[in-house]
Symmetry: C2
Subunit: 510 residues, 2 copies
């Protein structure tokens, strides 16, 4: 008899039926063998076949209908509008990668034609294209049960690159994972692809995930989650006889910088908008604004008043899992009892067992610089405000900070000169710099970077959201003097695929 995992309904603390079958060691071996066999077939499918498959996955997810929506809601405590929105985002992401595959830019096709008459030596014919790196292990995240989980951005970009995917399902939403996995399998059948293009592992612990990362047939790992979890995967991958890349999106407190002119003209409004961003989704976003740096003055007091009013009137929200809730409470207690930290606001008292009570704290510049742990991420609707004497002090704080996913600037035109001097520092600290907004709400687009210097991610050269995410799973191959008939169509004379190619250093569609 197969053992089952039952997720916990975070609103009630009760187990959810039906249970989902747990995997075992033999499944890892079988899935890796199937993925390896599927890799060569799948990566050599036409661009149109691969694009149509990604669209079929989106269609099958939509066809899962109410059953999926309801299972997500009960497993995560998230409200219907959020779940439906996240489903739309997930399907939109799959369709965007279908466009990326059809465009063919990701192939990075390059041709340096032969020059038989070159002196002192003739030049050979060189042609380059990207191919997939091999089977990818994807670790689903708890906080985006659809968009960063079984068919989320990591899976979509790996499949787009031509790599089979084996997902380690997040134990907080095994039922959701199973429904989405079924949708992917249906799309595989519909598109007549090998079953090994997709596999899923379900466990309550971490043993099978570790076995997956150390299996020699896995060639890359994508992960969204805690710093501890990401570091463990990085170590496991680096310790393999053949080390492989790990793309871990881990830890960020997403500083918000409040500049004097903006504070003076609209401090209270910024404070209210901040409180909304802080509390959306119970603060369970990688881009949640966990640190605010504000220049001292009446504008900052107005910001605090605006934020405080919004936080104090806010209804508590259920967190994703009992574990996340417990960690949040620990983090908040640590700040509340810190000698150098003052509590500015708390949300309403919780009603459910795993409700998060929002929190805003304050410290001063010296206190913040003194204790490195004040920049530890508290996952949930908690933020720490650091009062600085003037905008000149921002660079001291930034120099002290670890790498970040985002840094948000609230500024008006008179603030431009000081922002201009800070921009070089900001670029070296974060993957995305945004103006008069908050990092929550990550657009899935060509120009998005959801990445950043360590420990925001394990690899600042990459992004896990947006079309550039595909590059993580590609490697270039060069063909020298290969006869036309043997070349991939992307590299043949006459450009039969009609894609962009770099020929003799110039990009063009010829």
């Amino acid at each position: 008899m197969t053992d089952l995992i039952h997720a916990t309904d975070p609103k009630t603390g009760k187990p959810i039926d039906p249970g989902i079958a747990l995997s075992d060691e033999a499944d890892i071996d079988r899935l890796c063998a199937e993925a390896t066999a599927a890799f060569r077939i799948y990566r050599n499918t036409s661009l149109e076949t691969r694009a149509a498959f990604l669209e079929a996955v989106a269609a099958e997810i939509m066809e899962s209908g109410e059953a999926l929506i309801e299972r997500v809601m009960v497993e995560t405590g998230l409200p219907r509008t959020r779940v439906e929105g996240e489903r739309a985002r997930t399907c939109g992401q799959l369709r965007l990668f279908a466009r990326v595959v059809r465009d063919g830019d990701f192939l990075d096709a390059r041709i340096d034609p032969a020059r038989p008459d070159r002196q002192p030596l003739p030049r050979v014919d060189l042609r380059l294209r990207n191919i997939g790196t091999g089977p990818v292990a994807v670790f689903g995240a708890s906080n985006f049960p659809l968009a960063f989980s079984v068919a989320g951005g990591d899976t979509a970009s790996a499949l787009a690159a031509g790599c089979p995917v084996i997902v380690k399902a997040h134990p907080a939403h095994p039922g959701t994972s199973e429904i989405v996995a079924t949708a992917i399998r249906a799309a595989i059948t519909r598109c007549d692809l090998p079953a090994g293009v997709f596999g899923m592992v379900v466990e309550t612990g971490i043993e099978l995930g570790a076995a997956l990362v150390t299996d020699p047939r896995i060639k890359a790992v994508a992960f969204t989650g805690s710093r501890q979890g990401g570091l463990a995967l990085m170590q496991a991958a680096a310790g393999r006889p053949e080390p492989i890349p790990v793309y871990a999106e881990m830890s960020s407190i997403n500083p918000v910088l409040l500049f004097p002119a903006a504070l003076a003209s609209r401090g209270s409004a910024i404070g209210q908008a901040f409180a909304t961003s802080l509390q959306i989704g119970a603060g369970q976003f990688c881009t949640n604004p966990g640190l605010v740096l504000g220049t001292d003055g009446p504008g900052l007091d107005a910001f605090i008043a605006g934020a405080t009013a919004s936080i104090e009137g806010a209804m508590p929200q259920t967190m994703l899992t009992p574990g996340i809730h417990a960690a949040y409470d620990r983090g908040v207690s640590r700040l509340a009892s810190h000698a150098g930290v003052r509590t500015l606001a708390r949300g309403d008292a919780p009603s459910g067992p795993h409700d998060a009570q929002a929190a805003l704290f304050e410290t001063d510049l010296a206190g913040f610089l003194e204790d490195g742990h004040l920049q530890d991420e508290v996952f949930g609707p908690s933020s720490l405000l650091v009062r600085v004497p003037d905008a000149g002090a921002f660079s001291d704080v930034l120099a002290h900070l670890e790498g970040q996913l985002t840094i948000a600037l609230h500024m008006d035109e008179p603030d431009h000169p000081v922002v201009t001097t800070l921009l070089p520092v900001l670029e070296e600290k974060a993957g995305r710099i945004l103006v008069n907004g908050f990092g929550t709400g990550v657009e899935v687009a060509d120009a998005m970077v959801h990445g950043g210097p360590f420990p925001a991610t394990s690899d600042s050269r990459t992004t896990s959201v947006g079309t550039l995410a595909i590059r993580r799973f590609l490697r270039p191959v060069c063909y020298q003097d290969l006869p036309q008939a043997l070349l991939a169509r992307a590299l043949r004379d006459g450009n039969p695929l009609g894609i962009n190619r770099m020929i003799d250093g110039k990009i063009a569609k010829h």
Copy 2:
């Protein structure tokens, strides 16, 4: 008094004057501090400034004149034509990266314009460009004292990316390194750049190199050398509090596949060409053909006869260092005394103390598959021929092989069908697949890949030769709703730099 290092003249075994000053721990700290300070200034120079600097480095190297050529010759034992050719290659590479910088494609500029009317939510304005990752440590290689050393491909691509470079000079050619470093410093002065754009560390051991890789101010490492050395750097980098990428080009035996039709029609000529490739530069190339797989028959006998005649008549050549020569002799002795291996040919007896005696060995398919050590790299003019029953057996051998830089195919039109079935396997094993040639002679071009699956390199997603090498030292930054005046010129409306940009998913110069 500063301690000096004296390289050994490999032709005589005698120390070379003048000695070169050794670095110490304090130099590491100073160089890292200077590189960090220079980074922000240097990465924000205009494309034209950076391109002109790369060209100035090439010009200064040429101005080093005879003094450089002669010092390379005495430190490496390489002949004048090779040294002058390598200098041309090195300067050509710097000028090619100047073109890459001016073109601006490496910035990967992307713009997703705001869509205020989008439903259900407006889209923000998103713009992306690449910036340098930070100071890079480059480990010079012994076998290309110019092209893979102080101002070689790693340095050129890192400088092009906007990253300061600290070179760990190879102790086999410290005088050469000092002359080239002086040329780079002169170019820095001429272009009015900060001194910290370039630094160099000289040592006889490995302590300072290790200190460099573990210094928190270093953000990436590039290395060309032994597998042992590369693995040690990978471990050191992965063990840092902030792990950083290591681009190590390590170990490859570059299989040569001889197909039946080609062997039948021109076995002897291929054998002669192979022997030439094997012995060029005393076989001291990463792309040296260390393994030959040939289908049994009279054509293979003709190949062996052609190769043997060429090897047996060959003059011995001086190897780069006493250490390389000793390692080569050990590797050859191991093969010569191996029970399953037969010696086919040896070159003339050595005359100088560090001359390499070329060698060709043979084993059969079963013997090769049985002993994994038969695919260990023997650095120098030694190769192992594996006689296989037919071309169908190639896939068994390939499946058994580690990752490679190159695989060369000698084939005629009747061989096309079997090559077609093998191509998918070849792509998964090597970074470059070449037809009717040998891997030696690596063209510096846009479509070149000098990389490949582990252990050929530490990171198969990259190349260390060709313009794509720049991508190793870049990371993307996204700007959301940043006012025009604050944007980098690469991202402003109207495309003031006139570069390719992806706007709403389409690449164009607007």
